[in-house]
């Protein structure tokens, strides 16, 4: 329905602007707070305009970490988060591409059983199976390790299903043409299927990277060594300092830094991301 009335235009814009303001205000507060010196918040007064201590705050949290919080410097946590997010992304995509390939094109015994086993993992995210998973990881001695941090998060089926749906739209004739052209299963996967899945892989990478980046519960459980702390855990630890007020300027600086990588990923992958969600390149 297209209507052309001035007051309606005005109203809809007002609603949109209000919505944006509600979403953006906390982000703005975080940005502003991260630029004020430490004493500002003790007065109980919340400034709405940027202050002059930005450089000092950011370099402190990035470089030396916070005193009292017993934590690593923030750059280290950022690197940890990035490594974890990338490992989860790559691992999930690699596993789901191959398993979707097997399910769609290979006829093997218990294929349907495998399919349902994978399907069931959809209903069992880490949070649900957290105790048994922790036990397994602990028994394997994987606490405080990259494997323990990422493997349980990699093992789930969401991406497998997206790829399965995509593979099922690949025309049978294309598969047959490749067979006649002498492409065996591995060659077909590498030369035809991977390039065709490019945009889907990109779109999923964005989603999975952010999924990995915002993990909080699992890293909190399996890491006790500060070497493995991730940024999301770090923020939590900065707020929950013992016997002192949280240093909000530093906390907010950490928050802003933590937001940055996902935002950058989305901005730079946006075109591929949208393409991957809407396009069928066949």
């Amino acid at each position: 329905m297209i209507e052309n009335r001035r007051w309606l235009d005005f109203l809809t814009h007002a609603i949109l602007i209000l919505g944006v303001a509600i979403v953006a205000f906390p982000v703005w507060v975080a940005l502003v707070a991260s630029t004020h010196p430490a004493g500002t918040f003790a007065t109980g007064h919340m400034p709405l305009l940027p202050g002059g201590a930005a450089w000092e705050n950011y370099s402190t949290v990035l470089g030396s970490g916070m005193r009292g919080a017993g934590s690593e410097p923030l750059w280290r946590m950022l690197v940890n988060s990035a490594v974890m997010a990338v490992l989860i992304t790559v691992g999930k995509i690699a596993i789901s591409l191959t398993s979707a390939y097997a399910i769609v094109w290979f006829r093997f015994p218990l294929r349907v059983v495998c399919f349902w086993l994978i399907f069931i993992t959809l209903m069992l995210p880490v949070e649900v199976r957290i105790l048994p998973t922790f036990k397994v990881v602990a028994d394997f001695g994987l606490l405080n390790s990259w494997v323990g941090l990422t493997l349980p998060l990699i093992a789930s089926a969401t991406a497998t299903f997206l790829f399965r749906q995509f593979f099922m739209t690949v025309p049978e004739e294309l598969v047959e043409a490749a067979r006649i052209d002498g492409a065996g299963p591995m060659k077909f996967f590498r030369d035809i299927l991977l390039p065709l899945s490019r945009t889907n892989i990109a779109a999923l990478s964005v989603i999975l990277f952010i999924y990995g980046w915002v993990q909080y519960l699992w890293p909190t459980l399996v890491t006790t060594d500060p070497k493995f702390y991730t940024i999301v855990m770090g923020i939590k630890r900065m707020v929950a300092v013992a016997e002192a007020d949280p240093q909000w300027n530093f906390v907010m600086a950490a928050v802003v830094l933590a937001m940055l990588p996902p935002v950058l990923v989305v901005i730079f992958m946006q075109r591929l991301f949208v393409k991957g969600l809407i396009e069928t390149e066949k």
Binding site: E173, L174, E176, A177, A178, R179, G182, A183, K187, I192
Partner: protein, 361 residues
């Protein structure tokens, strides 16, 4: 180049109650273009896909050249296939599409380049070599698909309804083109279609299939002139042959003259019906039901009480008759086809106007 021999080939899909193919015997000579045609579900595509190696063989033999290829992978059979929906690799350029099969066979680089250049020249797709299939029209895509087959220099080309996605004009052009290329490379070819114009114009050997069996094999004109059965009579030719049950005609008091005793249906092609009734054998009094002016010819649909289906009369040029007009038509004895109670042709298959039809007059 090779002769393709198919012996007692059967196909039964797992769980199916009846066979899809009931023992096919067929030989396609070296360099010959065989066209498989038949109504949908007759098994023509299954047969082609079995030759290609895309379907397994239930029993029987497929030989390409001297080799029995039953157990070989499609890539090992040395055949190339052109698909209905082109099946080009969408992420590769036209050149990439042409090269892919050769690369997989570890053909030397220089040889690949030479073959691609040659095929591109013959098919006039040189300007598109660096484009992706998406940027091409349907006709151009089909040329690329042809190119992908040609560069392989296979023992046989297999075509699976390659023109059915093109518009009528382009289809006409491509028909001639495919035939020209096939002659030029003298490669044994099998072409599946449901379009009988394609079948008639392209085939050296026309293979008509029905319900998993071969109905008749021969040159297109032989099949046209001497259809072996009622199915063939109605299937080949557009519109098909007019078929008249003898009992209906007798019931309507038509003088049939001296037909062989076992004749149960007589047939006549629309172009052989004539309005010139002087001295003709069988004469029918009919009514014009509809007139189709095609431009170059006119199709007149004629009906009468007691006839189940209308007769069609074909005349070159325009013919102005109004529906409802009575029309007396004759069935010249020399053009009559007789079929017995089993729907089979009476007398040996032979050209029109030869002794067996003369005997009917």
């Amino acid at each position: 180049m090779a002769r393709i021999q198919i012996g007692a080939l059967r196909k039964t899909y797992p769980g199916a109650k009846t066979d899809t193919l009931h023992g096919i015997d067929l030989t396609i000579e070296d360099g010959e273009m065989a066209v498989l045609v038949g109504p949908s579900g007759c098994g023509k595509s299954t047969l082609l896909r079995m030759i290609a190696g895309l379907e397994s063989v239930t029993s029987g033999d497929i030989r390409i050249g001297e080799r029995v290829v039953n157990q070989l992978e499609p890539a090992e059979r040395d055949i190339a296939m052109v698909f209905q929906n082109y099946a080009l690799y969408p992420h590769m350029t036209v050149r990439g599409n042409l090269e892919y099969g050769l690369k997989n066979r570890r053909t030397p680089r220089a040889e690949i380049d030479a073959r691609v250049t040659e095929a591109a020249r013959v098919l006039e797709i040189e300007p598109f070599l660096d484009r992706k299939p998406q940027a091409l029209s349907g006709g151009q895509r089909q040329r690329v698909a042809m190119g992908r087959a040609i560069v392989r220099k296979p023992q046989a080309f297999l075509f699976d309804e390659p023109l059915s996605n093109l518009d009528a004009r382009l289809r006409g052009q491509m028909r001639v083109e495919i035939r020209r290329l096939q002659r030029r490379f003298a490669t044994t070819s099998i072409y599946v279609t449901h379009d009988q114009l394609e079948a008639m114009t392209m085939a050296d050997k026309l293979v008509v299939m029905n319900a998993g069996r071969i109905e008749q094999v021969g040159s297109p004109m032989d099949l046209f002139d001497a259809p072996r059965s009622l199915f063939m009579a109605s299937f080949i030719g557009a519109p098909g042959m007019n078929l008249l049950p003898v009992d209906d005609l007798r019931g309507a008091g038509v003088d049939l003259g001296g037909l062989p005793g076992n004749t149960s249906v007589i047939g006549i092609r629309p172009e052989h019906l004539t309005t010139d009734t002087v001295g003709a054998g069988i004469v029918l009094d009919l009514t014009v039901e509809a007139v189709e002016l095609v431009g170059s010819e006119t199709l007149v649909h004629l009906g009468a009480a007691g006839l189940s289906a209308p007769l069609v009369l074909r005349r070159p040029g325009a013919l102005s008759v109004a529906p409802g007009t009575p029309l007396r038509v004759a069935l010249p004895a020399g053009h009559l086809h007789g079929f017995d109670g089993h729907g089979l042709r009476i007398g040996a298959a032979s050209r029109q106007g030869q002794p067996q039809t003369a005997a009917m007059s």
